[in-house]
């Protein structure tokens, strides 16, 4: 059978115009337009572009949800088996649109999607988890390479074939870990890798670490005697009994607890929920992780303005980076709203 594919492009690749036409509303044309010709050729008869959706980059950016809904409904009308957007190369708005629509179509209709972007296109980082993003050049000069890779990856998905690694297929890592079987045991592979590393030869890790954000350092506190200081910990300090059931590892939530009038975290009143270290010492005296006692002294002395009456806590034991980020953002919002000037974050 020939699979039915709907293709998304912007006003420029549709030949409608450049920046001056960037606010055109989404429209649907039957068959191929522009890069869809290359896509059709790359499908080699196994699939066919049955319709092309065109939308201005600005219009999309201003109406993301409505336009995504509209496009998804059109894709459904055309009874598509798969959806392709772009390539968007290094075009910021177009790339973001490609990623957003692929994710929306995939989510709403459950059909395979693929786009192609320059890895530094903001759309790549934003949407690589929700769709396959083929690595493309930074300009339309890379059309010739990007389109066959998109076609091949979409065909594989539509046929239900196994998808290879990001390197094999040419897509940007989605951050998914998959178990693999190797002939050699881990110890041997590790030694092989070490030898390569010692020789200065290229080697590839089997367990890539996530890339963490960097933020610019905040300015120093000018007047500590007026500052409101808050305590946050990833060491799992909670009121005794762990009322919010924060998991001992892979935490799904964080806690917010009132320490108004609490001068010292006493045994039997506070404990740790953390399952990744020996809890004995923290359970005996939780101040060893969350230094409420000395901060109360410091507050009394007037060295700081005040200790914020709420502290935030979670467990940093195998907790997903995505969850940590979510917790951090929410804590940050609440701390900011409470007028906190600085945070002491303790980790175990």
């Amino acid at each position: 059978m020939t699979y039915r594919v709907v293709h998304y492009i912007n006003q420029f690749f549709a030949g409608i115009g450049g920046e001056e036409k960037a606010d055109i509303k989404p429209e649907v044309r039957e068959g191929v337009v522009g890069p869809g010709m290359a896509l059709n050729a790359a499908f080699k008869g196994e699939a066919e572009v049955v319709a092309t959706v065109i939308c201005g980059d600005n219009y999309f950016a201003d109406n993301i949800d409505d336009t995504s809904d509209f496009i998804a409904s059109k894709v459904k009308e055309f009874n598509a088996d798969g959806f392709v957007a772009g390539p968007g190369f290094n075009a910021g708005r177009y790339g973001t649109a490609c990623g957003a629509i692929c994710c929306a179509v995939g989510e709403k209709l459950g059909i395979p999607t693929v786009t192609a972007l320059y890895p530094e296109n903001p759309g790549a980082e934003m949407y690589k988890k929700g769709t396959y993003v083929i690595v493309a050049a930074d300009s339309a000069r890379g059309m010739g390479k990007a389109v066959p890779a998109m076609a091949s990856l979409l065909l594989k998905q539509m046929k239900g074939e196994a998808i290879g690694t990001p390197d094999e297929e040419g897509y940007i890592e989605k951050g998914v870990r998959i178990n693999m079987f190797y002939e050699k045991v881990g110890a041997e592979r590790a030694i092989d890798m070490l030898i390569k590393k010692l020789k200065g030869e290229p080697f590839k890790t089997e367990y890539k670490m996530p890339v963490f954000d960097r933020v610019d350092p905040r300015p120093a506190i000018k007047d500590m005697s007026k500052a409101k200081i808050a305590l946050v910990t990833s060491g799992g300090i909670v009121p005794f009994g762990n009322p919010d059931h924060i998991a001992a590892s892979s935490a799904q939530n964080f806690g917010e607890y009132d320490i108004t009038g609490v001068m010292d975290l006493k045994e039997g009143e506070y404990q740790t929920a953390h399952g990744g270290y020996d809890q004995t010492y923290a359970n005996q005296d939780a101040d060893r992780v969350l230094p409420v006692d000395v901060l109360r002294d410091i507050e009394k002395e007037g060295r700081i303005g005040s200790l914020h009456h709420l502290f935030y806590t979670t467990v940093g034991n195998g907790t997903a980076v995505a969850n940590s980020k979510k917790f951090g953002v929410e804590m940050g919002k609440r701390l900011k709203a409470a007028g906190v000037d600085a945070v002491i974050l303790t980790s175990t």
Binding site: A38, A140, G144
Partner: protein, 109 residues
């Protein structure tokens, strides 16, 4: 290539006998020259313009190609182009366009 210029090349190829048309490029880099050459021979490789999927097959040469150079007025060449010849990579440019011409041009000089 600029979309309007693609249209004008397309119009020219319709108005005149394509066999008589010779496209001469003055690109600054080999990669760009290839894109231009491919656009007028095999169709717009970026699929954004009027020449998308339109293989005109025109004869295309880089201005530094020996065959084209031989036809230029030596004095004018000296005045107009010799400076850029020192800055650019004339052989790489000529070679890049030749590669595309050999693959896609239906006509030659």
């Amino acid at each position: 290539m600029d979309l309007q210029n693609q249209q004008r090349v397309k119009d020219a190829a319709e108005k005149y006998d394509p066999a008589d048309i010779v496209v001469v490029l003055g690109s600054s880099d080999a990669e760009g020259a290839e894109i231009y050459a491919e656009t007028v021979c095999n169709g717009d490789p970026t699929y954004a313009g009027p020449l998308a999927g339109v293989p005109l097959g025109l004869a295309v040469y880089d201005v530094f190609d020996q065959e084209i150079r031989d036809e230029a007025d030596p004095e004018e060449w000296e005045n107009q182009i010799s400076m850029m010849e020192m800055v650019l990579e004339p052989e790489a440019l000529a070679e890049a366009v030749k590669g595309i011409r050999d693959q896609y041009s239906k006509y030659t000089l």
